[in-house]
């Protein structure tokens, strides 16, 4: 888990598809939450005027979202739980989009109800779940572990819908459910809490057959505590809650399907249909019935009949199915809102009047649509934020219109981004430059200087790309493969831009290109596997420029490719769980198996390749799948209904692979299911960036003041060596411990082994090829310099993205002038990664969700209003004299600049670490053993900082100044305080950055005040510990971190003192 990963999303002009499958409004009526078939959740801002604007997209589910529900008392914690088609459950904090808790259980839920009974229950409450299993499952809202279940003694079956009935009269909560067979069941809820906690079986109190199928909703009238509304797909019924006698049946007309309903007031109900119509009825008593059943044993039998008061107006051509909900007002400024979410991604709101009435003539009144909005509206309205990463380049070509990127691939070793476009062109750019041109003001300058290549060979939309060298270093660096809609695959030399070969497969669009594993070779070479949309698989031999095999018998889409190295078999797993075994040499189908045998065959080879044709995120992991299978056999969920066997993580996606290499900057192309729309995420690894930057000033010191450098290094070496035990190997490689390490570190971590970085390869080809030959063994001198400047560039882009531009115009100017960074064109879509597979991305126009609060600014890159507040608090706590280092000598601008960058970044890294710490803890609270692990983990993480910074102390020859402990302490307290107030990481980082930059700009005019030097950092630490013996371990750690980072500011004094 790399918490130091910061993300920036570069959307395209088309919004990612969001086919709404679940919708809810939070209790404060400020946020609409939707879940989609694609697996993402979207948070929409709902203003006081009932205006909608999409704010954030949450990634985490790898399958369609089935249901959403409140997961806590919303006034205390703004948590929402989502459940997906494959058994995944996530609890999200909807104010900041963070995934708080996740679990994958072998149950598929279709509805969830939150239940908490504060005076009888400890903990955070229960999630009562129903779905594709018998009866009702009780899941702990905090841990997402199965607590127990409510069981049926009669006719156990799947449950369609449920509601919790809280009766004021009898002070007792009950759970009402309707099964798929139409059986109504009632369980005592509040009085069974103890039995459930003691794991005793609780059976239904009552049950009744309702004689209708496909129940959609069951609702209790809280106003009269008398009526029960049950909506089925073909009729809706009203029952008397006291004895479950039927009072009213209303059958659907004109083939409409009912989808839900709600009791909106006493004797007033709202019913909606599957095609988005809704009707408000007044339930009237009919006196007639009293005389019809006068002799009924239980007294008078009343019947009621509905009178249509209002209907809502509907836009024509709604896409089905849609999901609807109704929310009642709780307090004064709130509204009664009916809302719907469509498969097309459209949200519609109707403001329901407090007292709905029909027209004077008695005919129903029409309630107009209050608001309607889609994701695409956000993208159209904020088009500066919704440009794709290569819009600039494609625009250059023909001037009119921009190309839609249909596939893309990032090559980390070359920092190149390859984008295949709808018109068949392929654009290759330097990723960092492209990002700069897209994001920064004056991007046109960067654009002109940023070289890019356009490869023309396809006549149809490019659907998939493969860079073989990225998968196996033995393969030619210049090769790149692209496949198009017309099943043409082209082998390119990306350096010469030549077409080496064209394969014509005649098999429909190419859906994915895969490389055989290194150990699998045919005729001495690895081969490429090309999966086409007619479900055929072609094997391409690149060296021989030939197609070895075209396997065409598959009836279902190819899901998995496996290689049998010894017998030269290609094993193809299809979506219908059948397996085809092909003999590669002869091209014959050796075997075709289904069912159990197919499973055995697929499981026997380990190196499977999942075909990623429809995955949300490109990196899929196979390990998870097997794990979930193993877990099942020893599942502890015996107590509940029998888990659905065969339910497994069908596919899983991770932002960062297990094999994720630390890299300061990388680009992640993302593609959404069922569409050709994709976008890019820029990932900045703050930790790695700081690591790479730290040596830089030293190196410069070394060159500028040679006579003190040696001494510095020796001391540095000795101190760091003491701590090598705690250092990980990768860290040591990055630290500038010795002379030879100086030359290597950046290249090593950037290039991963022998890949040589040629950032200057846009020069002519001959020069490049010569260089390539040489660079295998010898690292050309200038490349180190280029690396350094690349790192600096990355750091600058990162700061540009984070700075709250537009808050203070003067400050903007100063930043551009003194930090030498460029201003953003507009607010960027920042992202937040909760962990490797769960992250949230801001959508274009997210900034407008804040403008309600900051009326005067528009286009301000301010993450939230809180940031200014936090920033002020931080500034107030900063000791006066603390500022960013600046060289007294104005000649070494670069040195000063990079020092400032290093200082700012390390500060941000620290804040990031501090704010993230409790999250790590919170996730693992429960077992003391794990606590210990975390304890160690955090410590070692802290040690990293310690090492980095204490190294710094030494580099300054022990002459660094110690800082007024009170000031440090208060800063530290402040940040811990933020942590406890659940300030978001991004907020904290932006606030600290703003404060530090302000401070820096202020100090530019002043001469820094020297504080008293103290003998050594270690001593200082000891003293601190003694001074504060009662501090918690975390605080102690933080203190160390903070203390050790602060001296950074003095680093630039070395040349001056020398």
């Amino acid at each position: 888990m790399r918490t130091s990963l910061q993300a920036v999303a570069l959307w395209g002009q088309k919004a990612p598809p969001h086919s709404i499958t679940a919708i809810m409004i939070t209790d404060d009526q400020r946020t609409i939450v939707t879940g989609s078939q694609e697996g993402q959740l979207c948070l929409w801002n709902l203003s006081h005027e009932l205006k909608i604007s999409a704010k954030e997209l949450l990634f985490g589910h790898s399958a369609s979202v089935r249901c959403l529900a409140r997961a806590r008392d919303f006034s205390k914690q703004p948590y929402v739980v989502s459940a997906a088609e494959n058994g995944e459950m996530c609890v999200w904090n909807v104010t900041n989009g963070q995934c708080v808790k996740k679990a994958t259980l072998p149950y598929r839920h279709t509805a969830i109800c939150y239940y908490h009974c504060s005076f009888r229950m400890t903990g955070e409450g229960w999630l009562l779940c129903c779905g594709e299993y018998q009866d009702v499952l009780i899941i702990d809202a905090k841990t997402l572990a199965v607590v127990h279940s409510f069981r049926s003694s009669q006719f156990p079956d799947w449950i369609n819908c449920m509601c919790i009935v809280h009766s004021m009269r009898i002070q007792e909560d009950s759970l009402l459910v309707v099964s798929v067979a139409g059986e109504l069941k009632v369980w005592d809820l509040s009085s069974s809490i103890n039995s459930i906690q003691e794991k005793q079986d609780v059976y239904e109190k009552e049950s009744k057959f309702l004689e209708s199928l496909n129940c959609q909703t069951i609702r209790f009238c809280t106003y009269t505590e008398r009526l029960l509304l049950v909506v089925f797909s073909k009729c809706w019924k009203v029952y008397d809650y006291c004895n479950f006698s039927l009072l009213l049946t209303e059958v659907s007309r004109n083939g409409q399907f009912f989808a839900g309903g709600e009791v909106i007031a006493a004797h007033r109900i709202l019913i909606w249909t599957e095609d988005g119509h809704s009707y408000i009825y007044q339930l009237l008593n009919s006196g007639l019935s009293k005389s019809i059943y006068p002799s009924d044993g239980r007294g008078l039998k009343e019947t009621i009949y509905p009178h249509l008061l209002c209907s809502t107006s509907v836009q024509e051509n709604k896409s089905r199915p849609l999901v609807m909900g109704y929310m009642n007002e709780r307090k004064e400024p709130f509204y009664k809102v009916l809302f719907s979410g469509e498969v097309s991604g459209r949200i519609t709101l109707w403001h329901i009047p407090d007292v709905p009435v029909s027209k004077f003539d008695g005919s129903p009144r029409e309630i107009p649509i209050t608001t309607t909005w889609t994701l695409q509206d956000n993208f159209d309205k904020h088009d500066t934020m919704s440009q794709s990463i290569i819009d600039h380049f494609s625009g250059l070509e023909d001037g009119a219109g921009t190309a839609v990127v249909t596939s893309s691939e990032y090559i980390p070793s070359l920092d190149k981004l390859i984008c295949g476009c709808e018109d068949g062109t392929i654009i290759i750019t330097q990723a960092l430059n492209a990002a700069k041109a897209r994001l920064l003001e004056g991007g046109s300058l960067v654009k002109d200087s940023a070289p890019h290549k356009v490869l023309k060979g396809h006549y149809q939309s490019v659907t998939s790309l493969l860079y073989p060298h990225g998968l196996s270093s033995k393969l030619d660096q210049s090769w790149m493969l692209s496949g198009d809609l017309d099943s043409c695959v082209i082998l390119w030399d990306i350096f010469t831009e030549e077409i080496l070969h064209k394969f014509f497969l005649e098999a429909g669009p190419v859906t994915s290109l895969l490389m055989s594993p290194e150990k699998f070779k045919l005729r001495g070479d690895q081969i490429v596997c090309c999966v086409c949309s007619d479900h055929s698989v072609a094997l391409l031999h690149l060296e021989g420029k030939s197609c070895l095999l075209h396997a065409r018998k598959h009836l279902f889409p190819v899901k998995m490719i496996k290689w049998h190295p010894i017998e030269n078999f290609l094993i193809v797993g299809c979506a219908d769980d059948s397996v085809y075994i092909w003999e590669i040499e002869t091209g014959t189908l050796e075997r075709h198996e289904t069912g159990e045998r197919a499973q055995i065959i697929l499981n026997c080879c380990d190196d499977s390749q999942l075909v990623k044709a429809e995955s949300v995120l490109p990196v899929a992991s196979e390990t998870l799948k097997h794990k979930s299978l193993e877990q099942r056999s020893s599942s502890p969920y015996q107590l509940g209904p029998i888990p659905c066997p065969g339910l497994q993580v069908e596919s899983s996606h991770k932002v960062a692979d297990v094999k994720f290499f630390p890299r300061p900057f990388s680009v992640l192309p993302v593609k959404i299911k069922w569409s050709n729309v994709g976008f890019h995420i820029l990932l900045f690894d703050l930790e790695n960036l700081v690591e790479l930057l730290l040596p830089t000033p030293l190196r410069d010191v070394d060159s500028s003041s040679s006579f003190c450098g040696g001494e510095v290094l020796r001391r540095a070496k000795s101190t760091v060596e003491k701590k090598t035990l705690t250092l990980r190997k990768s860290k040591t490689a990055c630290g500038p411990l010795s002379a030879e390490a100086q030359a290597k570190p950046t290249t090593e971590s950037l290039a991963q082994g022998d890949n040589t970085i040629k950032f200057s390869e846009e020069n002519d080809v001959i020069k490049r090829q010569k260089k390539m030959k040489i660079s295998k063994k010898m690292q050309p001198k200038p490349s180190k310099k280029v690396d350094a400047s690349l790192t600096i560039d990355t750091a600058k882009l990162f700061l540009s993205c984070l700075l709250p531009w537009g808050v203070d115009k003067d400050l903007d100017y100063l930043c551009i002038k003194h930090l030498n960074i460029l201003k953003l064109q507009g607010p960027v879509s920042l992202g937040l990664a909760s962990n490797e597979a769960y992250f949230s991305l801001m959508l274009p126009g997210w900034d407008l969700c804040n403008t309600e609060m900051i009326k005067d600014c528009s286009g301000v890159n301010l993450f939230s209003r809180k940031v200014l507040d936090l920033s002020n608090k931080y500034t107030a706590t900063l000791p006066n004299q603390v500022g960013i280092p600046r060289g007294l000598d104005n000649n070494c601008d670069f040195l000063q600049e990079s020092n400032t960058l290093v200082y700012l970044l390390s500060r941000l890294f620290l804040v990031n670490k501090l704010v993230n710490m409790p999250l790590e803890l919170a996730c693992r609270v429960g077992s003391s053993f794990r606590m210990e692990c975390v304890h160690k983990k955090v410590r070692s993480a802290g040690n990293d900082i310690l090492n980095m910074s204490s190294f710094y102390n030494c580099s300054q020859n022990g002459k660094n100044a110690s800082h007024v402990p009170e000031a440090d302490l208060s800063l530290l307290k402040l940040i811990s305080c933020w942590r406890d107030q659940s300030v978001q990481v991004t907020e904290a980082i932006q606030a600290v950055l703003l404060a530090e930059v302000q401070q820096h700009m202020k100090s530019l005019g002043k001469i820094p005040v020297n504080s008293q030097p103290v003998s050594g950092a270690e001593n200082g630490n000891c003293e601190m510990k003694q001074m504060l013996p009662r501090l918690e371990w975390t605080e102690e750690l933080e203190l160390q971190c903070l203390r050790n980072t602060l001296p950074l500011q003095n680093s630039s004094r070395i040349p001056s003192t020398a």
């Binding site: 156990p156 079956d157 799947w158 199928l213 009836l555 066997p645």
Partner: protein
């Protein structure tokens, strides 16, 4: 040019006519399949009819069972077991008042009815607007059908303690002897009954105690802990019988899955029009 115009026309026809034709065909097949499961309320009201199945194995006749299936429930069971050692004949049967739900059948039935519901909500009057919409519907239907099929083809892998704790063992009168375990499940088109004979492991036994994991069918020698006792499976008897309507249902599932995939393939040909709205 002309080519794109023709393609557009064809795509329009596909969304307007062909999709609905396939959906109707799918509905017919699945309704036929659901009749096999005797869905309550699907025309045939009243209690589902009872079917008797005589379970045996071709090899030995040590275990014989007569199971009565009523819809998704086992309403009666008569099991005769000839003990291998002394040839003593054991007979046990279900209590009169009890039924045992075969969850595999219930789940498969429910998945089918969900698939039918998905299809019926898009009747002829509904206009599909994009190809992606059809793909999503087909994916949702196929998901339900695949699950329905998998429910029948992959019986639950249970551990021995799970079988011992299952309610099935408490269904019998007289109560099942403590050294016997019984499990009933569906495997493809067959109704299967397994009887495990157990013997206790001595506490001072030199045998290495390794509890067996989950399995559909445990083999002799599998060990487990139950209560305070350590037990070992000494004999396993498995008998089965083909349920003809399960066979029909499986065929219907396969056919409808292929129909769905063919429709998806047809739509995918026009994948360049995914975002294109002809209407």
């Amino acid at each position: 040019g002309d080519r794109t115009f023709l393609q557009e026309e064809e795509f329009r026809w596909l969304l307007h006519d062909e999709v609905h034709a396939v959906l109707r065909q799918l509905q017919d097949i699945l309704k036929e399949a659901s009749l096999r499961f005797t869905l309550p309320g699907s025309g045939t009201e009243g209690p589902a009819k009872q079917e008797n199945f005589i379970l045996g194995s071709c090899g030995t006749d040590q275990v014989k069972g007569v199971l009565t299936l009523q819809g998704d429930a086992l309403s009666q069971a008569d099991v005769n077991l000839k003990m291998p050692r002394n040839n003593q004949l054991l007979h046990f049967a279900f209590r009169e008042d009890k039924q045992w739900k075969l969850q595999q059948i219930q789940d498969a039935r429910n998945h089918v009815s969900q698939a039918i519901y998905l299809l019926t909500s898009r009747d002829e009057s509904y206009q599909f607007k994009t190809g992606a919409e059809v793909l999503k519907l087909m994916d949702a239907v196929m998901l339900q059908l695949t699950r329905a099929r998998n429910r029948l083809t992959t019986p639950a892998t249970l551990t021995l303690p799970e079988i011992a704790a299952s309610g099935l063992t408490r269904m019998f009168a007289p109560a099942l002897p403590s050294d016997l375990l019984v499990n009933v499940y569906i495997n493809l088109n067959k109704l299967c009954l397994t009887v495990y004979q157990l013997h206790a492991l001595q506490p001072n036994s030199t045998k290495n105690f390794r509890p067996a994991g989950g399995a559909v069918l445990h083999s002799p020698g599998a060990m487990f802990e139950w209560g305070s006792q350590r037990l070992e499976v000494s004999h396993v008897h498995k008998v089965e019988c083909v349920v003809p309507w399960l066979n029909d249902a499986l065929v219907y599932f396969t056919v409808s899955l292929q129909l769905c995939q063919q429709l998806k393939d047809k739509v995918s040909v026009f994948s360049s029009y995914w975002s294109y709205r002809p209407f």
